[in-house]
């Protein structure tokens, strides 16, 4: 019998979309799924109770502040004692914590899986997604992070999970949380948006970046960026799409003033439809775009926002 622990990431209101994808992945492995909530929040717990496919919600208390890996890893290990698989989404939260838990359990983690072959065998992208490796884990307990764009979000309306009181997080004392500066935006979250409008170095400056706003507003889109645009300070780091940033797979991805380096493609090539706007007709982005428009973005974008 496969018993699976899913580590939730939540924001004081609900578990995030990546966690719902990890639950879908867990359902492909087995059917006893426990969801570990690392926040002492009634609102999160009550909402999580309704996620379909979850048997138990494990609550926690104690020093959970800031989600510090040093404090949480021993607690997660304790909850993982009788399970065969531990899953989380492959966002920065899971990437930070899961390897620490995996090493405490002397298990070789499997990162960023995009397909499940069977309970031991998984497919994961390597080399910025330019190759796919099928790997079989020989460890007794498997620690896995899940690429959320590869698995649909679990239904979070029709479930009825039991609530089970879990362990208390203790302070390790070696690290402390100071603060979080989250980017404020009224737009949809990048990894959950149906449409993403992304800008690159071609945009030219932080001020110019607002040229994308009317278009994003009209489309109800999230705004993303290439690494070059983030490095140059046009937009904050959490806009970065790519191998080492966020992975997105919206219905429509519009790449504007982005050349199409493999590291950028790694984060968006699974989008359903890709549109590229670039003044260089030989830009590599056109090799993967479904529709390309060659021209100056400073003329095209205002016209497009106007007419769309």
């Amino acid at each position: 019998m496969m018993s699976i622990l899913v580590i939730a990431e939540s924001n004081g209101i609900e578990v995030d979309r990546g966690t719902l994808s990890a639950i879908t992945a867990a359902q492909k492995i087995g059917d006893k799924i426990n969801l570990l909530i690392l926040e002492d929040s009634e609102q999160v717990i009550n909402k999580a109770k309704k996620i379909k496919g979850v048997s138990n919600i494990i609550t926690t208390s104690g020093d959970l502040q800031g989600g510090l890996a040093e404090n949480l890893a021993p607690l997660i290990s304790e909850c993982a004692k009788d399970v065969t698989h531990v899953l989380s989404s492959a966002g920065t939260f899971g990437k930070n914590i899961m390897p620490r838990v995996s090493a405490l359990n002397d298990s070789q983690q499997i990162s960023d899986i995009c397909e499940i072959i069977d309970a031991d065998t998984f497919v994961r992208p390597i080399y910025a997604g330019n190759a796919l490796a099928t790997v079989k884990s020989l460890d007794k307990v498997k620690f896995i992070t899940v690429r959320s764009t590869a698995f649909q979000a679990a239904n979070d309306q029709e479930g009825d999970a039991e609530i089970v009181e879990g362990p208390v997080a203790e302070t390790n004392g070696k690290s402390s949380f100071v603060k979080r500066d989250l980017s404020e935006s009224d737009r949809p979250e990048l990894t959950a948006a149906k449409i993403v409008v992304s800008g690159g170095r071609g945009i030219g400056s932080a001020d110019n970046f607002s040229i994308l706003d009317p278009l994003a507003d009209k489309l109800g889109a999230a705004v993303g960026a290439s690494r070059a645009a983030v490095d140059a300070g046009y937009v904050p780091n959490d806009y970065q799409v790519g191998q080492t940033g966020k992975v997105v797979a919206p219905e429509l991805y519009i790449a504007i003033g982005i050349s199409g380096a493999i590291q950028h493609l790694a984060g968006m090539k699974d989008s359903k439809t890709i549109v590229a706007i670039n003044k260089d007709e030989d830009a590599p982005i056109f090799q993967i775009a479904d529709y390309g428009l060659v021209g100056d973005l400073f003329e095209i974008i205002p016209e497009l926002s106007d007419k769309i």
Partner: protein
């Protein structure tokens, strides 16, 4: 004064378009340009800056891999690393094994800070730093974009999905680097010459006392379905019309 350990990995250069070998068992590395993992370059640079600021005394570079790894260690020397350890393994070493080997080294050397890349751009695992922190029971400052060292503590700004996070971690600790921590320097010719004389100790992996057998069996490696490009549209009107009528997303 502090000692800093920087592990570096030799990987296929980030500009190379990789190919899967004909057996479908791995990515072809023969006759392919190899370089230091870009995140590790950032780690070396950060260590050198701490040394230049008078905050650290010695930078030890470690690499695990085949004999080409010595070239990568020398690249780190040319940037400012002081001495090196090469753990010789011709085969792939999994992150947990790397973490165990590093732990053994650290216990012999009394290291204060380990600075390492957040991920290697070949297997994209993003695990080793966190695993090493677990094995040593040290705090971890992952995905760092800014470090401030005072007394026995580092204040670190980390890149997270929602923005930035600030933590304090006590020494000894593990730091993993994100892209915006610094911009690595180019080594000068005199420093490249000096790097040739710095010492590298070679240790075969069999002599590390760590079980280095694989826990993840690679059954196959394949290229993903290539997305073929579509077509160019003439102007904004045509673009809007295809998005409305052919794709139907807007």
């Amino acid at each position: 004064m502090m000692k800093i350990l920087v592990p570096v990995k030799r990987v296929i250069d980030y500009n190379v378009k990789i190919r899967v070998n004909s057996e479908g068992s791995a990515v072809e590395t023969n006759n392919v340009k190899m370089s230091m993992n870009p995140f590790d370059e950032i780690a070396v640079e950060e260590a050198v800056r701490l040394k230049e600021a008078g905050l650290a005394e010695e930078i030890i570079i470690v690499s695990i891999g085949d004999k080409g790894s010595q070239e990568t260690i020398r690249t780190a020397f040319a940037m400012g690393g002081d001495r090196g350890v090469h753990i010789v393994n011709d085969l792939n070493t999994e992150p947990l094994v790397v973490a165990k080997i590093l732990k053994n080294l650290i216990e012999k050397e009394t290291i204060d800070i380990v600075i390492m890349g957040k991920q290697a751009i070949d297997d994209d695992s993003n695990q080793t730093g966190q695993m090493l922190a677990a094995l040593l029971d040290w705090p971890q400052a992952t995905f760092a974009s800014k470090l401030e060292l005072n007394d026995n503590q580092i204040k670190v700004i980390r890149e997270i999905d929602g923005g930035l996070e600030t933590l304090n971690v006590k020494l000894p600790c593990i730091v993993t680097t994100d892209l915006r921590l610094n911009e690595p320097r180019y080594a000068s010719l005199p420093n490249i010459m000096k790097a040739k004389k710095k010492e590298i100790i070679e240790i075969p992996i069999e002599e590390t006392g760590v079980d280095f057998s694989s826990r993840l069996e690679v059954l196959k490696v394949e290229e993903p379905e290539i997305r073929s490009g579509g077509r160019k549209v003439e102007d904004v009107n045509e673009l809007i019309s295809v998005l409305k009528n052919e794709v139907g997303v807007i």
